[in-house]
Symmetry: D2
Subunit: 307 residues, 4 copies
């Protein structure tokens, strides 16, 4: 296939730009276009359930409304989130905010009670409010349920959160289940443990496996959007082994493959493990999720709506 | 400090080479030397407990005996492992093996029942034996205990595994606790869940938090060796927040920092979160763990034994 | 500054997307937006000359029309190119093409006379035509000039190339000088040397320095767009030392900074060497040039045209 | 091939460690061992000329004595250097030094006249001395020769430099030619140009091509050690096209391959271009040259001396 040169012009639509990348077909531009094309196919395939994993600082990094929009549009059917992304979604839902880092030294930040994630800052006052508010929510839930799975807990939280941009709230309202296998290793997990110390309230760690299996078995096809992450990526892949693997998948990562970490592993590797089907459609993009995913999704929206 | 040129010669000791890196002090060589120096200080400090996190394919990638030696020498006091590293330790303990990838296509590997991790292959026959053997072990443990935490389970497994090179076995025999917050998302976790379906055997997910807290509170100082990983790194860091953070730490990673993933985050960032103390000794090495850690540890052994 | 969540919608303009990145301000999205903003300022500043360096496989990778458009629009005033980008521009000008790699083994490609650059293929037949055509051009130039500088040579070539998309041709027609300090190490350089063996035709290696110095001294301000590259980046930076450094610059690179290569060096480092002025506006984006630069430039076009 | 676990012990020889990496054979450790093995074969093969390219800040970064030792031991027969590595070799030869960066801001460094390369600092006073001394050397050479190629110039400089650790001096004394296709883009190149303004002294840019071709044609086999770099790597590879490519090669780089830069390109790609022979022995190591190369070379010395 010939490489066509990319053309840009003023007043250009995002999907026109990606169509130009598609006509080029090589290097990063080619990878972005193929990922966009697979995403469009996933969303348009009525027989395909779309799973999405959220690793890395996506919510503090500006992706909250994108995830919420995907839920509201019916473009994602199941989410696997890190505990941190859940925590930061609730920090914003309870009135907190994230700030751009202004270059202060980490020891200075420590004194001022500010935590840093790359060039993002978040203040301890917002975490204090988070602790108070999430505890109130736990109390409401614990008054109804004594034993609960993580997915059920996140559903109940979502129903109680009043924020039209919260992805946890949107997921609950739209019946998009959220799984969070590593939740215990996060601020929300810590609060959960503290709460369980003096309340009759137990989280069933393996409690989500039957439900997740049912969803996978009940899906004619499964596609996956893998955004960063080790655990969240693995859990999404592994849940599909029981049916021979994913039918299609895209991943966006900055990790490199040579040292063998799952985060940097090419999607092809998943075929050897029957986590992706032989013959499945796979595309990996090397890049920053906060740039690449909005670009791909905005472009996919045009293609979906134009059909 | 002046950069001294590195000298190499034949019949050179590993620690002489790293001493040359120390005299240079810059770029990768300087980072390796500083990490080695901090590791020596950690191990020699009688008041410091040394935590080690194992992320990425360390056991399939050849690090099993290194971890076991550290345990036997008393150079590590607590381990946080991914589920995968536990699984692969047991695969070898039960007679299985890992093989160097010979370049076959992932769809071919799938047909032959071979899973690939970067350039490492592992066969499904070895996993079949793993499933049989781990189930026998679960039966023995379940006959004594109905509810068990992950750390307790791994301790019991370690006592029952007969393999002088198994790090799980060595850890049990030397009272080095192993924590595995993401164990459920691995083959050992899957077998655990299957076993729990028809046995009265419950894993307490949050059950390890009091014990881990006790260890942290009981440590005058804590140092950490962070090898790869997102979840295992985070769990190790986060467990030390309750005492104001780590006193010293080294990490080895190939992930880059700009996109904000925890795996690539500089250790300095941990200070802002009180996961490392202000004034703590920290060194990050950008590199492949299977090269850098044996190099550092072999060199540290000379320094420790010579004092 | 608060991090605003990114919003995407269908039928979205590229500049609306980047405006959303700007409102977020963090991680990759923030870096892309800042680079776009600096690019807009560079182009709109009537007192600023814009230099652009072309390293890496930009022309084979689809960026030829983008570079040509920038020249025609008057958005770039001086180019520093690798020899390879010049060669590949002429390969296309003489009727050749680049193709997407279909996965063949490098030894197979060798037998078929196909060279590979990442996932781009180019055939030896096209290089044979290149050799014939460039030699004809050298003959025409040599009939007029016996000693010529690299920049002068590229200007003369540009006048003789009939291809509305060739950046060498567009540069000549629009009086945008092209410098190529490493031209000798490329196919065009090789042909030049072969031609010089039996013709009275000498390339003056240092011959461009007075002209380049004159341009720098004659520029009230200089901005730079640094796309990939070691030598081309360095030459662009170094040429501005004589006036105290660049006034503003953006770079796009996938190289990382720790090992000290110039390609991965942060632009801030240039301040220490007086290659960028203290107080200059600098932005680095970690990413693939073929994705990031069209994105930035398409967005910049809207901002420039709307003012 | 089975993956053997790596064993480390105290008082361990560098080559014993690499032998352990060899027995493992996977991930970074496997790559380091294979590169060591190829290096040993290269050096021991009496019919093979060994070319070495020096890109990135190798001399400021501590590799000067390693390069000099290789020359003195007869382990390298031809060098392709960046202009910067030549400049920094002479800075040290003339009494200057490099220092470890202590964390000052780049604008502060600028005010103090200190240039930064990653975490290395070098002062403007040392460059002032460099300018004076190199000019004296140019005067001596210009009194004998009016037209000179870059390789001849570096040979003449080497004969005049009195520093047993200078790689330029050692190369001259041991008849190891140094090529530097990008010399003009460096401080030594700048001084050369300034000197040529008021002296009858001309550098012949293409003057080295016949001599380099003669060496390649006269070599029964050629092996290459490619340390970092774009231009220096390319020049080394390209010089061997005339005989069908390299017979063996190792490279050490931190650049990644996806974006298509030559620095990150896998060596296999060189086969498609006939820059490496089909069937040649090739190994790439992803890592920091200042760590990996001394490790490999120290280990190779044992193997060579033991045979």
């Amino acid at each position: 296939m010939k490489v066509n040169q990319i053309n840009v012009e003023s007043n250009m639509n995002v999907s026109d730009l990606i169509d130009n990348f598609d006509a080029s077909g090589v290097l990063g531009a080619g990878r972005v276009a193929r990922a966009r094309n697979i995403l469009v196919d996933m969303i348009q395939d009525k027989d395909m359930n779309v799973f999405m994993s959220l690793g890395g600082p996506l919510i503090p990094g500006g992706m909250r409304n994108v995830v919420s929009k995907m839920i509201k549009e019916g473009h994602v059917n199941l989410i696997v989130s890190s505990g941190a992304n859940l925590t930061h979604d609730l920090v914003e839902a309870f009135g907190g905010a994230h700030y751009r880092h202004e270059g202060k030294d980490d020891e200075e930040l420590n004194e001022e009670g500010i935590g840093r994630i790359a060039d993002i800052n978040v203040g301890s006052d917002d975490f204090t409010i988070f602790e108070t508010e999430i505890t109130k929510i736990f109390e409401k839930i614990a008054s109804k349920r004594k034993v609960i799975s993580i997915q059920e807990l996140l559903y109940e939280i979502g129903l109680l959160v009043e924020d039209e941009n919260s992805f946890i709230a949107n997921a609950a309202k739209n019946n998009v289940p959220i799984f969070a296998p590593g939740i215990i290793d996060s601020m929300i997990g810590l609060q959960l443990w503290i709460f369980s110390q003096d309340h009759d309230f137990t989280i069933s760690a393996a409690g989500d496996m039957p439900y997740l299996s049912d969803i996978v078995f009940g899906s004619e096809k499964v596609g996956a959007i893998l955004l960063g992450g080790g655990l969240t990526k693995h859990y999404t892949l592994a849940s599909n082994v029981i049916t021979g693997g994913l039918d299609s998948a895209i991943q966006i990562t900055m990790d490199r493959p040579e040292a063998g970490s799952l985060g940097g592993a090419p999607l092809e590797e998943a075929k050897s493990w029957a986590k992706a089907k032989c013959g499945s459609n796979l595309a990996s993009v090397v890049g920053d999720v906060t740039v690449i995913f909005p670009l791909i999704y905005a472009s996919a929206l045009d293609k979906i709506n134009s059909d």
